[in-house]
Symmetry: C2
């Protein structure tokens, strides 16, 4: 028995590959997604490429204008702040519901995942911390026992992926992040939904501000402006 044959269609594989390239930051916002070039690069015709691009656009990862082509969704500074605010709210709701609904088993798992984060933070293993952090937040999404909410939260989180990476540059951020996680976990474990929501909102807001500021100060235009000011 191996993994059940995925039986994916070409368009799906393209969508997954491109989405991964976008959320990982390998394809920068504004980058032109040329149908022909992608078709050639992936060894398929333009048809599945077009379908993949349309789906990316519908997911908000790309923008398409009739007869003008598709580009990786350019995210303005303002929109970035808005997205982080929504992510903070969504995760806040997930935390509140988790505090109310998590089973004892889920609570134990949450604690374990939190301890994982703390361990990697102390050992300074950045990549491992990142994965553990994703798992931690994912557990809180699922803990809400609302699949639709979890899907939405995950979608927003994915779209913010390329921008969240920036925060790790800020020294000492990981340690504070874990401390904030701890407060959220304690609130969830004692069933204090309002506190859990408030603490999680604060945590994500901090991450968002750090990321948005970092991104803003490293944009090409910002760079040019900074140079011009010298």
């Amino acid at each position: 028995m191996s993994t059940a044959a995925p039986k994916r269609t070409r368009a799906e594989e393209l969508r997954i590959a491109l989405a991964d390239d976008i959320v990982s930051g390998r394809l920068a916002p504004g980058f032109r997604l040329d149908e022909r070039e992608l078709a050639e690069r992936f060894g398929v015709s333009r048809t599945p490429v077009r379908e993949a691009l349309r789906q990316l656009a519908a997911a908000g990862l790309a923008e398409t204008r009739p007869h003008k082509g598709v580009v990786v969704a350019p995210v303005t500074e303002g929109r970035l702040h808005e997205m982080f605010e929504v992510m903070a709210e969504l995760e806040g709701v997930c935390s509140r519901l988790s505090a109310e609904r998590m089973s004892p088993r889920e609570r134990r798992e949450l604690e374990a995942l939190h301890e994982n984060c703390a361990r990697f933070m102390r050992s300074g293993a950045a990549e491992e911390y990142h994965l553990a952090n994703e798992a931690f937040h994912g557990a809180i999404y699922r803990g809400s026992h609302n699949g639709f909410l979890a899907d939405n939260a995950f979608m927003v989180r994915s779209r913010l992926g390329p921008f969240r990476r920036a925060q790790f540059r800020v020294v000492g951020r990981l340690g504070k992040s874990v401390a904030e996680h701890d407060a959220v976990v304690q609130a969830i474990l004692r069933g204090d939904g309002d506190a859990a929501a408030r603490l999680m909102r604060h945590h994500v807001a901090v991450v968002g501000d750090a990321s948005a500021d970092y991104v803003a100060s490293h944009r090409p235009e910002a760079q040019a402006a900074a140079i011009a000011l010298r």
Copy 2:
């Protein structure tokens, strides 16, 4: 000069038309969306139809299984409750932010829209009330001063469209709805974000429960089961 030429593509027009048919309830969940039939009916080839179907699927309005065709997204009872819960939370957030951020002008407009609802409720004008109600909620979305949040809230609201219609069947619901609106408006006007959020969550939860129950008891399966029980 006349209205600037929209210059829409066929696929876009199809997507809009089909989305409208779905959210209005003219196309019932589970309905089979056949490429050839739609192509024939709209007088276009299958290609734009496919693109439209893909976009509908990405937006959650349709479901597509590889090689198995596309159907209008069937919404289980559980998922319906989840969606209403998310809508309640999103609108709650919008209300809290509106309480904090609405300009004096926006607050006056909100009051006016609320009074519109009350008027149509008293005169029993169902269709007009529906439109006024949409405008009321839309004002609160915009009042959050977060376009991304407003977009998401609007999207969820649209997807719930076909199910929310049901609530109007419940006698006396409109009057209670307006009373709930009033409490939300008062909280927003006095800048009490937490109260506004709580009251709006409650309002949408009530609407959701009423709608979900109504829908559940009117589903074909439920009908069959009810008949079998006689």
